[in-house]
Amino acid sequence: MKLVVDLPSSFHLIAVLLQWIGLAFLLPLVVALLYGEPPWPWVLSLGVTSVLGMLLGLLTRHSEEIGLREAFLVVAVGWLAVAAVGSLPYLSLNALSPVGAFFESMSGFTTTGATVLEGIESQPRSLLFWRALSQWLGGMGIIVLAIAILPRLAVGGRQLLEAEVPGLEVERLTPHIRETARALWKVYAGLSAAEILLLLSTGVSFYEAVTHTFTTLSTGGFGTRSESLQTFSALTQWVVIIFMLLGGINFALLYRGFKSRLRFGSLLAHDEEFRFYVAVFASMTILLAFVLLLGSRSATTLEETLRQSAFQVASLMTTTGYANADFNDWDSTAKLLLLALMFLGGSAGSTSGSIKLVRTLLIFKLMGREIRRILHPQAVIPIRLGSRVISEEALSGIMIFAILYVTIFALGSILLMLDVERVGGIQGQPLAVLDAVSAVAATLGNVGPGFGVVGPMASYAPLPDTSKMLLTLLMWIGRLEIFPVIVLLTRSYWRG
């Protein structure tokens, strides 16, 4: 049988993607030069990426038409390729093994924030900068970025965009997909500039303000200190809470809000997903604060309790993965609450990962409908989001997504437990169930840290290489929201 996917033109697009992403190495090169660190790893990474991109470009051919099948391939393989070249600096600086470097790079671009890098403070600043930059680039989506920049993608871009952000229809802010992508990036860049300025005003150094901004708005979670945000001032932490929450809002909504300054409040108030987002954040913060107050390990002041609660809720719900307290020491109730938060995610169209609130909200509405249908079997009840009716096809897609998500989570947890058991545990200790499920939830949901060995102040380094590969795979699947990966695994995708 004949392949129906146009491989040459798909790989041509990936080649173009690589050529452009290579240019990103110029920024850490500048940082390296500023701090007197060796520049050659960056020159090498830039060179290798560009040569690879060009070679691939020569071997393939450009096509004007990009179909649905090609879009899935470009997105899925594109993310793998970008993560692969993104691991070059870790390798050339000899900081990590190939498996570890790929894990770290994937964790960066997928804005997960799970790390295998140890002794963060002793790492070169240029490398930590690259780690943060990869999250900032991945946060808005590398395809969104590519569409905004690359002239060639102006037409076929919509399908690529929908493949990268599946499940929900991409909101068109302007008639041109390219201008939409640019609009989203404008909001993203504008908020980033604002956060840098605010962090500077709270006394954070320029270097840390930039790196933390990169990983806050992208809901990434990489830091420059091994204690995450714990050692920063209270004021800084509050600023970070606000910007993590901003990163979890639909950027299209923010864009329309900024466009119509006067209606900003009412625009937000009328967006049902946003209201749900605020309600979940507020109620979970209060709930966690109570749990912390009741628990053995409470903070010294009420402000600190609230700050710890709000910080962790914002961080895990938006899938950032920062911590301003070692929540690994909290009691099991608090930990279970945090684990539940990892499944929520922010709004659709934000930089956050996981299931995303709009899906949760719609699933709740579906449950409500089923209950009403028991009493009124013949009632016709459409599901609405705000005033918009959601089609039954979209609803079943959402349910199937949630089921797939939970299935992959369960399978991943079992595989992780098995793998750790296979190598005789970590430092002779078996992996606790809560720690294993937290690691899988945190990587699949692009959150970052879990509990125990993979806690917020620890790293994924002690896990065996096979486990790291499994978790790298989960980060990739999670970031692409499952379907593009699953589609590639079907027979009908490859053959007509």
């Binding site: 009124h376 013949q378 009632a379 016709v380 009840i381 459409p382 609405r384 005033s387 009716v389």
Partner: protein
Amino acid sequence: MEGSLYNGPFKRKWLKMKVVVIGAGQVGQSIAQALQEDHDVVVIERDKHQLELLSEYDVMAIEGNGASLRVLEEAGARGAHLVIACTNIDEVNIVACAGSKQLGAAFTIARVHDTEYIETWERGRLGVDFMVCSELLTSELMAQLIGVPAAREIHTFAEGRILMAELLIDKGSSWASRPIKELELPAASMIVSLIRGGRVIIPGGEDEVQDGDLMVSIGTPEAVAQLNRRASGQAPPQNIVIIGGGRIGYRLALTLERQGLRPKIIEADPQRSRWLAEHLTRSQVFQSSGVDLEFLESERIGECEAGACVMDKDEKNLLSALLLKSLGVKKVIAGVANTHYIKVFERVGVDVAVSARKVIAEEIIRFTKSRGAGISILEGERAEVLETTVSPKSPLIGVPLKQAPLPKGAIVGGVVRRKQVIIPRGDDALLAGDRVIIFSTKEVAPEIERML
């Protein structure tokens, strides 16, 4: 809703007009029938079979597309006083009006189904002088009939600011067997007559209201609602069921939703019921037939205070209306296509039968009257209500109504003066330019028209 539009007032001599009617469907035929005697009527119709049906009327029939300028010219739209476009296709009607206007027609009326065209028309006139939507008119009338439980007929005047309702006084009413002067009438209302056994009575203060009377009253919508409550003891219904989610059912649900109600709407077609559920935010939509007894009982439809059966077949409407009555729904309205069925429906127990065709024909025929007068016919032409403007030469001007030379059997029920609604008393006098709503018996109607 009793009585026929097609005779009576139109036999009188009005200004003879050239009228072009586009579309010989049910509405077009009704209009042709009503206007044939007094006016020169030309009907344009595309379909040969429909055209043949016109042979029984005294009108000129032209085969062709009414949206074509050539055909319009042939029909004489160039010098027409009135062009009425009432085909089933909204766009054709609008284009036909615009084309006629271009040719120089004096007044154009377009009938539409889609109310969005009315919104468009309200902003840009599109060459249409008046746009009517039968679904909108019918559903609004039904909503009024539902809102006033005792009403068996309602007519609207002065853009809805004055209502005339026939309220049924039944055994349960505390007003039965009481003289009119003792009744506590709301300030902005009056009783103009009683209909007893098909006879129109102009009552005096000593006369008693009897069980089974239809009390014809005029007032502002609020006053009529209050009057209804005092006379019948029934509050406006909260639980309403609509059987049939066609265009009228949908419009009716929408109108009721705007009044803050949450009607139940039952539609048999799965796709249509889904569409309804998506477009109606407050109504409860059920997918079922209007005659599924098990369903009606399990959803306790019998507990509704009012119901409207508006499916596409008269027989289905009749069956489901009687079913609703038997389940205990207090007031049931049924839509009817065939105007001959109106009396039959009401005889066998349907409270009110409403014909969309009649409603729209009535609305359009209003425009064939001189001086913009509107007429509503009551009780098999035994009485009528005239809405018109008082001319400066009228002998009624400046004289208190109790001394005015009005013939017996005529009552001024409402006055609109500089946008204010007045329900006049004996000491009030008319002024030139007042818009008046006058009730009169058939005998004195021509005299009244001369006086104004």
